[in-house]
Amino acid sequence: MRLRQWLTALTVVLVLASIWVVYPPFDVRDSAGGLVTRGKVNLGLDLQGGMHLKLEVDSSGLPANVTPAEARERALEILRNRIDALGVAEPIIQKEGEKWIVIQLPGVKDPERAVSIIGQTALLEFKMMEENRALTDFMDADGNTVAAKVPPELEILPGKEGDPMLLQSKQLLTGASLVDAKVEMDGYGRPIVAFKLNPEGGKRFAAITGANINRRLAIILDSRVYSAPVIKSRIGGGSGIIEGQFTLQEAKDLALVLRAGALPAPVNIINKYVVGPTLGRDSIRKGKLSFIIGISLVILFMIVYYRTSGVVADISLALNFLFLMAALVALHATLTMPGIAGVILTIGMAVDANVLIFERIREELRLGKTVRAAIDAGYAKALSSIIDANVTTLITAAVLFQFGTGPIKGYAVTLTVGLVISMFTAIVVSKLIFDVRKHYTKLSI
């Protein structure tokens, strides 16, 4: 008796807590479509649109004193800076496996721009142009560069338009000495990137420019010569500019990656998954529709088949759904399209426990037991079957969770949580409802 009161109190508390936790589940918008309250349920990339990237740090060219693990650690930090500057709400940036980095940008507006900002190494270098020798010295008759002819102290890099340029290989200064970069306009209103160096870098910059007056200094980004202005005089104060016929957006993005710093090694994008906002909205709409229709059919079916007892099963079903949504919010789980399928499937499967119980009760009634005894026996005898039945599905859900990439993980989570909750609602809650009446003469089942 005391146990039953405890369970009733627990159920009531859980219901109230769940409503408080979960409301409002999805974004509430006014008639104009403006956001009023943010929904509590965390929607996956496939439902709200966005981009998922998997990067591999190319550790082939790393200096000997840097391990691939350190390079990834550093890359992770820099990517985090760049993405913060990009202004995406709630990005996820994390390591995966031995050498991968996973980035999720939910709701990102311009995936291509994000890819170009994330994917570039952004290694800024300053080198002197070689003006004493001609490019043609290192070319064959067709104008192609012959690598074997280029001595180690020289190198040939493409310019911004792809035209080859002859430089001295010695790296005079890199972007590592940079403390700030921002967009400014030159005298003709064209965007340029102005940078500022740290004190030490500033001193070196002054020394370099002082020693090379009237020669050309190449400004190189990711092995491409952006500009090679002639040094007019020694530049003190540690600041300079990069020009290169940028659009305003390009200049802004360049300033952004320069501020965030260069990646320690190039990264390769090995997996890119983009979902546009249309598909996300479609999926939500279709998920909701199939959910409503599916659940309605089950509810109707239970009432037609089991009458009043079917209503009891439906109530526990409704609570199952409420608790499941609350659990998803509380666990900060992400609802994906397969996750919605998991929720719907759970509802179908959750009926199973009640079906097992009701079929048992019917059998016990046929054996001539009183209604009260039949109900109690039905619950008692069905218990082991119910637990068995759920454990088998839970095993596969657990494996899927381990294995899971984003959407599949969402499915495994909803299925697991849903099944665990269904055991509580189908066994405990429905029994509490049956126990409201002490004496039964007839049972509608």
């Binding site: 591999e56 059919l297 009458r307 399928a341 499937l345 095993i395 596969t396």
Partner: protein, 305 residues
């Protein structure tokens, strides 16, 4: 009281078991064939397992598959497969691009550029795209095999802990039967092996097993209560006693899965279809395969009771 199955129903399932065995032999052969084709790399696989690019595009105006193909062919995409996505009143296509010389992350971007350039009057919009590099797909293939392996190990351990030797063998066989049957049918229908199909297969394994477990529970219970009864008759009685529950549960789950199949949209269509087939197969194998296997075994070498 409404009953789909009358409580005095007594279909001689054990007597007609050869029909089921023959049908299952066909299904399993089909499934094994599909497995063989998959392992030889001859069956269709999703991009996540094979690497490559898929792009789901929508056009604002009506357009024929041939026009899309020609637009892609006009530039570097000679070899692509194009499927229309059924969605009344909308013009959606799933494009599958075979290996190109482009970098992994650039293929989908380039596809859209090519479509917009060559079909300027009907500008395509990307609904979703996925580019998968070879290292990622190799990793996922390996993980998929691990998942299947560990799911089976988990299930077998559970069954062997819960039941004695013969029941364990029967339940394990029935589970393998269900996975193979669904895989075989999906292969025959021309679906590719992808992550969602794998997810459905694992879910089916768990779900159909739970049906089987309920019947086995009943056989064990009846064996305990009725030590003198003839074995086949007892197994048959157990199947019939649980038949109502088996059918009602499957029906309830079927209702939601059918709703998903028809209304859930293209993203989870493969999953919903595999689940629908799996539910039917799972119910069938519970009634016709698992318990009858026990009967057959007992007929050949009776268990002392």
């Amino acid at each position: 009281m409404m009953q789909l199955i009358r409580n005095d129903m007594n279909i001689p399932f054990t007597k007609i078991r050869w029909i089921g065995f023959a049908f299952s032999a066909v299904l399993m052969t089909l499934g094994l064939y599909a497995t063989l084709q998959l392992s030889l790399g001859r069956a269709k696989m999703g991009v996540e397992f094979s690497g490559g690019t898929t792009v789901e595009v929508e056009f604002p105006k009506a357009i024929k598959t041939e026009e899309v193909r020609n637009a892609l062919k006009a530039d570097e995409f000679q070899d692509s497969s194009i499927q229309t996505i059924a969605d009344p009143g909308r013009y959606k296509f799933m494009l599958r691009i075979q290996a190109t010389s482009l970098k992994t992350s650039e293929v989908s971007t380039r596809v859209l550029q090519v479509l917009q350039k060559n079909l300027p009057d009907n500008p395509a919009v990307i609904l979703a795209s996925e580019d998968v590099g070879p290292s990622v797909s190799a990793h996922l293939r390996q993980q998929a095999l691990f998942a299947l392996f560990w799911a089976m190990v988990g299930i077998v351990i559970y069954i062997w802990w819960r039941f004695d030797f013969r029941f364990s063998v029967a339940a394990t066989l029935a589970t393998i039967h269900d996975i193979l049957a669904v895989l075989g049918i999906m292969y025959l229908l021309g679906f590719e092996m992808n992550l969602l199909l794998l997810t459905a297969l694992l879910t089916i394994a768990g779900y159909s097993l739970n049906d089987t477990v309920v019947v086995f529970d009943r056989i064990r219970e009846n064996l305990r209560h009725d030590r003198k009864a003839e074995y086949d008759g007892l197994v048959n009685r157990s199947i019939n006693e649980t038949l109502s529950r088996t059918i009602v549960t499957s029906l309830a789950t079927m209702l939601v899965v059918i709703a998903l199949l028809f209304l859930g949209g293209e993203v989870i269509y493969t999953f919903s279809l595999a689940m629908t087939i799996g539910l039917v197969i799972g119910t069938y194998s519970t009634i016709f395969v698992a318990s009858n296997f026990i009967s057959e075994w007992n007929a050949r070498s009776p268990v002392p009771r």
